[in-house]
Amino acid sequence: MLGFERQVVDHLVTTPDPDRRAAVHRWVAGSLADMPEHLRVGVYAESVALAAVARLLRAGRRPSDDDVARAVQILDVSPIALLRQYVRLFRSLVLFAEQELAGQKPGA
């Protein structure tokens, strides 16, 4: 997972539990690694482009958590379907993992 992708995931995860957060990150990383190559290349390209724009706006510095939150908010309502789908992909992976993990019995 790229740095920007990790930041997006970190923003979308809602649980404060560090173990569960780590488990969600592992799930998303595993899913991205296992994606069909042509889809992964597309997501990768979007991540690189979005990270570049975010850095440009921060004069070359790494985007902060607030920057990523703002970016997600903007992408969510973008008229460009590809950008909305970028957030949707990450939100789907995070939501599914987080909710399923929340439903697991302790120790499961």
Binding site: S31, D34, M35, P36, A81, R88, L95, F96, A102
Partner: protein, 484 residues
């Protein structure tokens, strides 16, 4: 003959078999069991792992990681794209589906028989095979009253005067009423092994090896303890049974392209997360289906674990927190259409996953909108208080008047679709200009190569295709035996 041009330094293991079956799902397992029981020396190769059917919960994270291809994250590209899921384990997609059983409708079989000139494809003949397969698979109705999520469908249908049916499933029930899905890993794969077949799991077929108009084997890659091993399997006969995406991709990688990968069909599916004033069960998929608009539109219940509910809510809106907190009162239903559109499967050089595309027609989009409205109408009649359609920004419906706006909302930019039924990417029949195989799955111009899976169906059947796949696979396997 291009026998495996061995540049690899790793040792190559060589296996010999009479019949090589590639894929262990509904088509592959049926083929392997029938041929092994007839005394043939059969080797089954499966790309995915062996997973104990009881090892993981259905539709859970663990199941998706272990049994699904790409963790369930695949999509047919198009406007809109269609997300799809395939199994990748011993037993194939029968390990991950809901186990609903629907024989190929007789009128559809007739239509296909004429349109694609399929020999020996009459309804009585197919029904005779279907009866045998149903016995093997313990196809049965639920022994007890349906769970609340199913009863709601029935209640809504009754209020509206629509036809609804409880479909049988491939489930075996114990005296307490507890059902166990009869997947290929529980039924036909063990039967094939008991009859002498060998199953090689975690083994990906890279390509078939040809010698003139024959296939002489397959070159495979297997990962054992983190080390890649090359396996050459020499065979007298080869059946490719990898499903509607993997089968055409393998044939194309092997230089067989005539009518291969075209004509892909799927059932585009649109969903609603429905909130009720009372808690609902989430453990099983409803066996009830609304058949009022069949076969072009089917309405039913979907997997509704906590994670699925969350996904369905988020498909509609980013303001889902309140409904998600109340997830035990929310469950997911779907409307699936038979579509006019077609898709393609294309193996890309140097890339493992094939490119899959699907272009919905305007008529398909209209059918999906109609399906969504009917589903909404049904769920409100069943007592739902809030409906979240899988359309970004669509109105959250609370009364019948709200549904009208969905007509405009269902468009190519905002509609989120998925499917689990993919078929027809090879096609069978004597209409050579449109099919990849003859009436019995024999690939044109390659004497000893057959296809025997969902890719043979000439069109999407409008229902879960497992029954049609197994019925046709049994028919084709017996045809093979009768020829030898």
């Amino acid at each position: 003959m291009s026998w495996f041009g061995t540049r690899d330094r790793a040792p190559v293991t060589r296996l010999d078999t009479e019949v090589l079956v590639i894929g262990s799902g509904a088509g592959g397992a049926t083929t392997a069991a029938l041929l092994a029981e007839a005394g043939r020396r059969v080797t089954v190769v499966e790309e995915g792992p062996w997973v104990d059917p009881d090892a993981v919960e259905p539709f859970s994270l663990d199941e998706m990681a272990l049994k699904y291809r790409h963790h369930g994250s695949s999509a047919a590209l198009g406007a809109p794209p269609v997300a799809y899921a395939e199994g990748r384990c011993v037993g194939g997609s029968t390990e991950i589906n809901s186990g609903l059983w629907h024989r190929l409708p007789g009128d559809l079989a007739e239509e296909w028989r004429h349109a694609f000139r399929i020999d020996e494809f009459t309804t009585p003949l197919l029904d005779a095979y279907a009866e045998r397969v149903e016995e093997w698979q313990s196809v049965s109705q639920m022994p007890a009253a349906p769970p609340p999520s199913s009863a709601l469908l029935e209640r809504g249908a009754t209020k509206l005067g629509w036809r609804s049916v409880e479909f049988p499933r491939v489930f075996r029930y114990d005296p307490s009423g507890r059902g166990t899905k009869q997947t290929m890993a529980r039924t036909l794969i063990p039967r094939a092994i008991a009859a002498g077949a060998t199953v090689v799991a975690d083994c990906r077929v890279q390509r078939l090896v040809r010698d003139g108009d024959r296939v002489v084997g397959a070159r495979c890659q297997r990962r054992v303890d983190g080390i890649d091993e090359t396996i050459e399997i020499h065979a007298d006969h080869v059946f490719v049974c990898g499903g509607a995406v993997q089968t055409p991709a393998l044939l194309q990688r092997s230089g067989i392209r005539r009518n291969i990968g075209r004509g892909l069909k799927l059932h585009p599916t649109i969903k609603i997360a429905a909130r009720f004033p009372h808690p609902i069960d989430h453990g099983d998929v409803s066996p009830y289906r609304i058949t009022e608009f069949s076969p072009n539109l089917t309405i039913g219940g979907s997997a509704s674990r906590r994670g699925h509910v969350a996904l369905a809510l988020a498909d509609a809106t980013t303001e889902y927190a309140d409904a998600l907190a109340d997830w035990e009162h929310v469950t997911v239903y779907y409307a699936a259409i038979r579509s006019d559109a077609g898709g393609r499967v294309l193996a890309l050089p140097g890339v493992r996953a094939p490119l899959v595309t699907y272009s919905l027609t305007d008529a398909d989009m209209s059918r999906l909108a109609r399906g969504l409205l009917h589903l909404g109408e049904l769920l409100l009649a069943a007592g739902a208080t809030e409906l979240y359609p899988s359309v970004e920004g669509a109105v959250i419906a609370r009364r019948a008047d709200d549904l009208v706006s969905w007509w405009e909302s269902v468009d190519r930019r905002r509609t989120n679709l998925m499917t689990v039924h993919l078929t027809s990417s090879v096609g069978m029949g004597e209409a050579r200009e449109r099919t990849g195989t003859d009436s019995f799955g024999r690939v044109w111009d390659v004497r000893n190569l057959r296809v025997n899976d969902a890719s043979l169906l000439p069109d999407a059947p409008g229902v879960n295709p497992q029954a049609a796949v197994m019925t046709i696979a049994a028919r084709n396997a017996e045809q093979f035996l009768s020829e030898q």
